[in-house]
Assembly symmetry: C2
Amino acid sequence: MKLYDMKQAPNPRRVRIFLAEKGIEIPSQQIDIGAGENLKAPFLAINPRGTLPTLQFDDGSIIDESIAICRYFEMSQPEPNLMGRDAMEAAIIECWQRQMEFDGIMSVASIFRNTAPNFAKRARPGSGPDTPQIPALAERGSILLSAFYESLNTRLGETEFIAGDRYTIADITAFVTVDFAKWVKMRVPEAHSNTQRWYDAISARPSSTA
Amino acid sequence: MKLYDMKQAPNPRRVRIFLAEKGIEIPSQQIDIGAGENLKAPFLAINPRGTLPTLQFDDGSIIDESIAICRYFEMSQPEPNLMGRDAMEAAIIECWQRQMEFDGIMSVASIFRNTAPNFAKRARPGSGPDTPQIPALAERGSILLSAFYESLNTRLGETEFIAGDRYTIADITAFVTVDFAKWVKMRVPEAHSNTQRWYDAISARPSSTA
């Protein structure tokens, strides 16, 4: 088993933090997205979609979606539990995880991918068709990310963690979103004390450096 | 328990098909997105995000992401299984489900929401900030949907169903995508015989009319 990874990229980091929380260590190999290594023949032979992270098994089969990789390890080693212990809890955590993903990480990505000079002709990750950047989509991303920050601060005024009273995969996605947003210079507003309290707590976990 | 639903909309349909496959019947109430009923006070009091489908429990708590609603019913009633029986199968199905969602249904949505006159100022679903339509995003959606159709036909030349040799939630998302794409007049190309074979088979299931 091997994890194809990129130290700086947000989605691989979600998996690394998840594994660190589980205490699972697996071999990994760095792939440089900035240099286009994910779109060159050697990596495309492993994963034709050209996306990271990619988990490869010894028979060559792969899992190439962050949350699906997390699901594999959650079901293989259920504790410490990060995705829910029963139907109700799993569904609530999945709601929050997806909300953090769609409203958070995707808003940052839409700013970053539609403005970064490296991605002028490839505003979408992976090996799909060329898609030029759309400046208006970066603007929309800024509006959505601001709204995300407001809702995050509201939520964290109600509960200790994103999905309730314990740390889950939803916190991982939100935490990675906040750090990813530094790339586009949209930090958590200083007045958002609930989010600041939560961010400090998550940062203090050993997994945060993964 | 009650499902807030809209008969015509693609995401609620995913849940209805899933429930039909499980043989689960629950009360439902129609909410008219076209008339903006999802953004008015009575529904926002139930789900502040204003999105459909929304599953509401008798204590008022809600689950408002299609896949999370499916997860709830999958864990409550595991058979017939639609999301995987072990870690490996669940991860593979989740990969395919997400790929159908990101590359398929979201591509159609980006065309529809950025062109339909009803959504001129609200190109994103739900109660978030106003976001004007972006014509270039609809164009990008057309490129991505064409690429999705190509990859779908390739995949269905290799396997009977999307995620392998049996029907799963990945087929539900893909099937709903294909029907949703009729709204934007981008049907499956006639030459895509693998997809046509699969579409006919899925259409023949009783759940397809849900």
